[in-house]
Symmetry: D2
């Protein structure tokens, strides 16, 4: 068979390891050949496709990013031609099917294409760990590791200056990175989108930490919002009506400082969390996802996605995979909250 591979959505450590796993096993065991699709679905729509021989995936397991490039373009976008255009390009290249490595959006498109008869297999990618059909995905542990190491560094400076430090990590809808990096670094408060918390609770934890003679570290997921607080009212909007402060860390910092009297600084880790060398955990998981995906191709399990359940790689329906996001359960946050303050 001749199989296409694309990576789509935000960058994520481990994408290259998935690609390498697919190509090495496909080449050696099934004698498939491979086509690289450039920049996600854009390459399928615009016919930007190249042959991907085994030797081009050499040494990729430890390399961050994706050699295929990525974008947020989709085949169902205005004038992009939908499944018909995808089939047309696939036929032109005699592509028997393709593997789509991406997050919720990417996999939803894959499901829709599959429903229109396009042969596709999914590999879940979400640095936020918010896909419900898999226990965990590659990239997430690397993001937690980077966030933890960063918070370890920021904390020493906070201690030297007797300051409070507010660190913003990724997590628009789910607070997994904040939860795990917060536990790992011994944070004094962890703020996530799933759990409503008031400013009084936050300043309570901050003050309790100061009272014990320590410098408070607050870890906030980007999607967290203070319960019952209109921050834009407090901080104003600019002449375009946009809130004056971008991120949640920047919003919280002056409020904490004002209410507690403790000098407070913020840091937003941003893109640092999604680049660079993946951890060994993510390299192993990504490699396993890759080899399992080509097994699924071989078994023609179109419309499915590989997933981790416990210690096993399994296949699940794409439809199931994209139905709901995986939030942090309240009891997991409660478990961590014991350590606050």
């Amino acid at each position: 068979m001749k199989i296409g591979i694309l990576t789509s959505g935000g960058d994520c450590p481990g994408l290259n390891a998935v690609i390498r796993g697919i190509v090495l096993k496909g080449d050696k065991v099934y004698e498939h050949t491979f086509l690289g699709i450039r920049d996600g679905y854009r390459g399928l729509v615009e016919d930007d496709i190249f042959t991907l021989p085994r030797k081009q995936v050499r040494g990729l397991s430890k390399q961050g990013g994706t050699i295929l490039g990525t974008s947020r373009t989709g085949p169902y976008g205005e004038g992009n031609g939908g499944a018909e255009r995808v089939r047309e390009v696939m036929d032109k290249h005699e592509m028997d099917g393709f593997i789509a490595i991406g997050g919720e959006g990417t996999l939803t498109v894959a499901r829709m294409l599959h429903e229109e008869g396009v042969p596709v297999i999914g590999v879940p990618k979400t640095i936020d760990n918010d896909l419900s059909a898999t226990d965990v995905t590659f990239g997430f542990e690397t993001a937690v590791a980077i966030a933890t190491e960063s918070i370890d560094r920021l904390r020493t400076t906070a201690e030297s200056h007797h300051r409070c430090m507010v660190v913003e990590v990724m997590g628009r809808d789910a607070g997994w990175i904040a939860l795990n990096a917060g536990i790992a670094s011994g944070a004094h408060a962890i703020l996530i989108p799933e759990v409503p918390v008031t400013i009084e609770q936050v300043t309570g934890w901050v003050q309790a930490t100061v009272n014990r003679g320590r410098a408070p570290v607050v870890v906030a997921a980007e999607g967290f919002r203070l319960a019952g607080e209109d921050v834009s009212a407090k901080h104003g909007v600019d002449h375009m009506g946009r809130p004056r402060f971008g991120g949640i860390a920047e919003q919280l910092t002056p409020i904490i400082e004002e209410r507690t009297g403790i000098e407070t600084r913020s840091m937003t880790l941003g893109h640092l969390q999604r680049g660079g060398v993946p951890t060994s955990y993510d390299r192993v998981l990504a490699t396993r996802f890759g080899t399992a995906a080509i097994d699924a191709v071989h078994r023609k399990e179109w419309g499915t996605m590989v997933a981790l359940k416990g210690t096993d790689i399994v296949s699940v329906e794409l439809a199931e995979a994209t139905s709901e996001i995986k939030s942090v359960p309240r009891e997991r946050w409660d478990e961590a909250a014991i350590l606050f303050g």
Copy 2:
């Protein structure tokens, strides 16, 4: 309640995070007080015990090693007094029970003590990941991360000199570290105790790698033995009858060099794999084990052990936990072997 804590057996990154998790939750939620037992069961036998206040566990989540010390002494050793002596010392300190953090040996002793009526809860610790009752334990991912980073380094030098490099990692009975570090670093052969492999297979992978213009990397678990080969016959024994070469890597190196003609070097990672700062993954898992262990104490689930199943922390019987070692299943090795050569 007044609860003792001991750490026993080989050092392991995350021990301190477990201790911190136990004490913080025990102090804040249950108002327990804690006693540190020095150097594992030795402290129980020799009455080497001290109070362990909350402030002494401050900042421990990221600190390697164990503030309690460790040893391989056991209460059932010659003249150590067994359960009776343990109860005597516990009574003296009004200790209501204790938490034993350790591997197969430690937990077997805990089970035996429990069967004689001593109130004890276990926390599994095995850097080799060979305990069957838990999906994974803390310390293992750190060991894999260190091994992977080391192999990444060793490979560049092997490439510069066009050499074969044989790297020995931990794993006496189970090859998990070799398997995962080998996959993560893109090794050309992974040799584990569970899978018999001949010298011809090894040199075949080495030669195939050289033929593709690359420097072969062989990762061997310390417990691996060549199938059908009497290495001591080949390499001789010293005047004490001990094999001349200590480890498997040192044994394989001259054989590979002689049979393939490729210059070959070895490196044994040894103690490097069990010390230092734990990865964020291990800090989170160790913290969760610690807080779950004190929950189990609170529920008086004596004779049980905390364990990870999927993404959940559960309680299992100590008896179940120590019944068999968790080997690498043949299919997991086969999956990796696709990438060899």
Copy 3:
């Protein structure tokens, strides 16, 4: 003798290693005793002083931050009492002299106190490497290492998304961190306060990089300003008259994007660069500074500062040390600029 130690100004990796070097050598060789002065000059002014025995500096060489705390308070501040108050507090504690570890401001105050007869020795600390009297100071190499590692990470994501990335590093008056981190990470443009550069030059380098098929990385010191450009005019000010965007990276990003049409993102590394474990280079330099400082105390070389010249630690007059900042020479930037674009 009884010697005080204080750390003052911004946090810097290696402060603790200096303190340890002073105390270990002073204790073992000269039998001095030590007093810790809390939070820089604030402790001298407010009499916040404690005994600092040898065992308290144990294990400090690798610990970031300062166990003494730091602040920006000075004895010559309004109502702080100046040299008279300092002498009063020193006399109360029978302090024979003190060692001030800090940057340009701290050392200027030390010089002024010395001129009024206070016995003081300086240890230079500047993460920006902008003190002219020493070849380099501790903390700087750690900052460069963190910035380099961060840029390595950010670059992979920029490549995956075909974006330009603008990274802001520390350096208000001198561009040393930008220069070295930029060279180390292979940046396509390095912007420093010392060298005027126009927006046309910046976009020229960015475009040249894109033309070669790569994702451009621009490293900018926080003190850099575009030549002949009024950025606040372009981006406007808020209702308080402050420029709408804080840092130089945020200012440059929309301009680059608009002029080149290349999607552009920014990241400000901020406090990440001054916390956490120091590199081995900085631990060695800081330890040598510490032991040399106590030698200088022993020789009663009050009014001097330790410094690195080539591979030697020497003593220089505080007056000399604080006379001018050490800028990046134009030829060093030209040397790096060869690699741009």
Copy 4:
């Protein structure tokens, strides 16, 4: 001009950064073209030479090892043809001169070739830092960083088990790596080839450390030998007359254990110290060496070598560069020895 480049001798982090610096500046500023010479002088002798375009050095600053390969073959070896053969191969490729990146042996050969009229420029490479003509070379700081990080890890386990740990680092003739890694990691004894030390001194430091309640860490350079001790007499030789134990760490371990009664373990870091990603310090120094070397070529300063003096890159005669090794001065060791025990 058409310029050859070769890397020779043991692997060293930063070699690729030198190559990149040479090619980028040579291509952009001087419009030179480049030839890669494979595996050091072997490529010159055996005519194994290829064109090296700019795009092949892309991204090399952070990559360990050398894309040119290395070997220990020399043109003056039996039957290799000496300067005549070198000139013959250079003429065939119209090579106007070449840059030799290597250590004492490599540069001595370069000097001899130069004396016979071959146009050559040297770049010093010595991971041991033992070349007297340069303050420091690339690779050394990376080796110290790896050794320090490893010792940090080993120490935690030594503390957990109350053991003494003996760590062997590189340094056959000069103890620079041991000195700096020992200082950086807070070792309790540093043993180097330059300073004779008796077993009584070693065990004295070990015992003093134990008496203070800590786990002793002894760092030994591979070239260290105990004063007045015939270790092979003590430990015997095998049937071939070779000493039974390979390295100094393995020799010291049983002696320390026997004399002090303290459980003692050893670790030899070996090849770990010379592979992998260079530190930012080494990337900057290597890049500067590379661009300075092509400047020297442009100025036709044949027979010279680039070197670091203070913060400047200078040119020195090859003859001067290879006259004596740079030992650790006694006062530098004395300075460190203050911290022992």
